[in-house]
């Protein structure tokens, strides 16, 4: 197990190197915005521009810039400084990480609780009105984009512009606010972020459980005289939940890299919001840093999933 994890981590480093190479090419070689111009502002003197280029080393050949960037990233874990406001990209990412984790954490709990319950009931009561109703609802929920859902939620329930002003609206989440206020501010974002995932997980679990309940070992459990409840929970769900762990790991990995839409709609200062702003302002070095961070999060979650899988399924051996 130990050697497996070390080997996987080395692979992760290699993968990150490839990702960083690609992002560097995408953002620097393919011209999008001139970083120096971004920094100097509109109508800057050529001399000022030149000065900025020299300060940031933007006048050097691309290959030299690339190696310098790589050296900083991999040896010093330094993602550089924002072209726009000189802020350190790494500390910006780390500052905003807790907010994103906060958002995801609540949403994960919510979508697992709702999605798995609905999925299980649907599978057990297959073909019933409840099953058809929840699966249709799930389809609608999957199809609804989070930004649309977010705006609808704000329009309906937000305390400032809402028709039924019940909950704090956009921008209510503050780093420094007390815990209770933060929780209140996150209720709507949690629900919005969790909606589509809950629907996907409900459908996924329903399909898994239906398949599992047709397995021979389920028949064996019944033939042993195990109660139906025991058959469903102890035998059926145990098998049906295992693939869900994989999906959950990947989803969380991607979201840690920023729940861009939800964070933007609700103005939550997380990694997604940071990335969104950086993209809008052409702050290439921040976008690069955020992309690498996302890749790292996905890789680590993936590794976690694979290790978990070997714990959950005794047939799986890590090698």
């Amino acid at each position: 197990m130990g050697t497996y994890i070390i080997r996987r981590l080395l692979w992760t480093v290699l993968l990150l190197w490839v990702v960083s190479g690609i992002t560097f090419i995408v953002f620097n070689v393919l011209p999008s915005a001139d970083p120096a111009l971004l920094r100097a502002g509109r109508r800057a003197e050529p001399a000022v521009l030149q000065g900025i280029r020299e300060t940031f080393g933007l006048d050097r050949p691309l290959i030299v810039q690339y190696f310098d960037y790589m050296k900083d990233v991999f040896l010093h874990f330094d993602f550089g400084r924002s072209y726009r406001n000189d802020a350190d990209v790494r500390s910006q990412l780390l500052d905003r990480l807790p907010n994103t984790l906060y958002l995801i954490g609540g949403a994960v709990v919510l979508w697992l609780a709702v999605g798995l319950t609905v999925g299980m009931i649907s599978a057990v009561k297959r073909g019933s009105f409840l099953d058809r109703f929840s699966m249709t609802t799930a389809l609608v929920a999957i199809s609804a984009p989070p930004y649309w859902l977010g705006l609808i939620a704000l329009y309906l329930f937000s305390s400032d512009i809402g028709r039924f002003p019940l909950l704090p609206g956009s921008g209510a989440f503050q780093d420094t606010a007390p815990f209770a206020t933060q929780v209140g501010a996150l209720i709507m974002p949690w629900c919005v972020l969790a909606t589509a995932f809950a629907a996907i997980y409900a459908r996924l679990l329903r399909a898994n459980l239906l398949e599992v309940m047709g397995e021979d070992y389920i028949r064996t459990a019944r033939a042993k005289g195990v109660s139906e409840r025991g058959v469903i929970f102890h035998h059926g769900m145990r098998s049906a939940l295992t693939p869900i762990v994989t999906v959950l790991g990947l989803d969380v990995g991607i979201l840690v890299g920023g729940a861009i839409l939800t964070e933007s709609v609700f103005n939550i200062p997380g990694i997604g919001r940071l990335t969104f702003d950086a993209i809008q302002r052409g702050d290439i070095i921040t976008v690069q840093g955020a992309t690498l961070f996302l890749a790292l999060a996905v890789c680590l979650c993936n590794l976690f999933v694979d290790v978990m899988y070997s714990v959950l399924d005794p047939r799986v051996r890590l090698s």
Binding site: T220, E228, S239, D313
Partner: protein, 354 residues
């Protein structure tokens, strides 16, 4: 024969599917005495598994339509509630299945699965149940059972897994064991070992057994009585020796003719039962075997045969419309090695019928 332990009367199991009503079992009756073994033989879709799963109460569903009577332990199982059936399953009637790998839960240790079988019916500690599990694993011939209880199903070989299944079925000392093709998924040498084990356990434990198989060679070793099923009905029933010595149904002849014999020359072709099993949604009219029967006559396409005692042998019953002396002559011919067509020509010539 003493009081039967299981008595099935006119059992019908129909399933209402989107394609139509599937008559999986269509009027089956049989008895099993204590300590006896009944072999149920038939090809896929003949209803042999469905009838046994129904005894276990495992075919109850929204789409199934079950009628008849199943008497066991003084009660009609078809009238019992689901929870009453549950307390019977695994305790008084146990079952083993065809594929031991897929029949064991891949995520749980063998020991835990055996313990669950005990604890589903008895309030005992896990340690006591585990001791019982180890004892049963030893009984079925698993070496070093104390270590093996901690293993997962995929760590066992096919034969060992089936031994585990047998141990699990017998752990609560059931009165009746239903074995649904327990050797079909195994290698031939392992098949022989499992059969040997079952014969030994039968002698030791005096459990009554329903042994379902499509393999006549297997029932010849195991069964006291044989029921031959075709299209959801029993077409022939009798003691094992009788079924092999003087079978009285063309389908049984077909089954016997399609197994290789040790004393036959190697290039002698096997005679398969021609045609395919009928659709259980649209059963053929009259005798449901008539489209495949080499000896069919026009009347057989209209009249339904019933399972009736064979002349001179009340323990032997057959559902065939041919006259009993005609059947005797055909069997004589077949036994001499004649092909069904030749046997048919012989009896037809004698009759003057087409």
């Amino acid at each position: 024969m003493s009081e039967p332990i299981l008595s099935v009367r006119d059992l019908k199991v129909h399933f209402n599917t989107d394609d139509g009503r599937v008559k999986a079992v269509d009027g089956v009756s049989y008895d099993i005495g204590p300590g006896r073994t009944l072999g149920i033989v038939g090809e896929s879709g003949s209803g042999k598994s469905v009838s046994s799963l129904t005894v276990m109460g495992l075919t109850r569903s929204k789409i199934s339509d079950i009628s008849g009577e199943i008497h066991f332990g003084g009660r009609d199982l078809l009238t019992l509630s689901e929870s009453e059936m549950r307390s019977l399953r695994g305790e008084e009637i146990a079952m083993i299945f065809q594929d031991p790998l897929s029949s064991l839960h891949p995520f749980y240790r063998i020991g835990d699965q055996l313990v669950e079988a005990v604890q589903a019916h008895h309030k005992v500690s896990k340690a006591a149940a585990l001791d019982k599990a180890i004892e049963l694993l030893r009984l079925v011939g698993i070496p070093e059972p104390k270590d093996r209880v901690g293993g997962y199903p995929h760590e066992f070989s096919g034969g060992m897994r089936q031994r585990v299944m047998i141990a699990m079925a017998l752990i609560n000392e059931p009165k009746l064991l239903i074995a649904d093709e327990p050797t079909t998924a195994l290698d031939v040498t392992v098949q022989a070992q499992i059969l040997e084990l079952m014969i030994r356990l039968k002698a030791e434990l005096h459990t009554s057994i329903v042994f379902i198989t499509h393999d006549l060679g297997v029932v010849a070793e195991m069964a006291d009585d044989i029921a031959v099923m075709y299209a959801g009905r029993i077409v022939e029933f009798g003691p094992t020796e009788t079924i092999f010595d003087s079978p009285q149904h063309p389908y049984t002849w077909g089954l016997l003719g399609s197994i290789p014999k040790l004393d036959a020359s190697r290039d002698e072709p096997l005679v398969p039962v021609t045609g395919r099993p009928p659709s259980l949604i649209n059963l053929p009219s009259g005798c449901s075997f008539h489209p495949r029967c080499p000896y069919v006559r026009d009347a057989h396409k209209r009249v339904e045969p019933t399972l009736e005692p064979v002349k001179g042998d009340p323990g032997h019953r057959s559902a065939c419309l041919l006259d009993s002396d005609v059947r005797d002559r055909i069997w004589e011919d077949l036994r001499e090695g004649k092909l069904p067509a030749e046997a048919r020509a012989d009896v037809m010539a004698g009759d003057g019928a087409p």
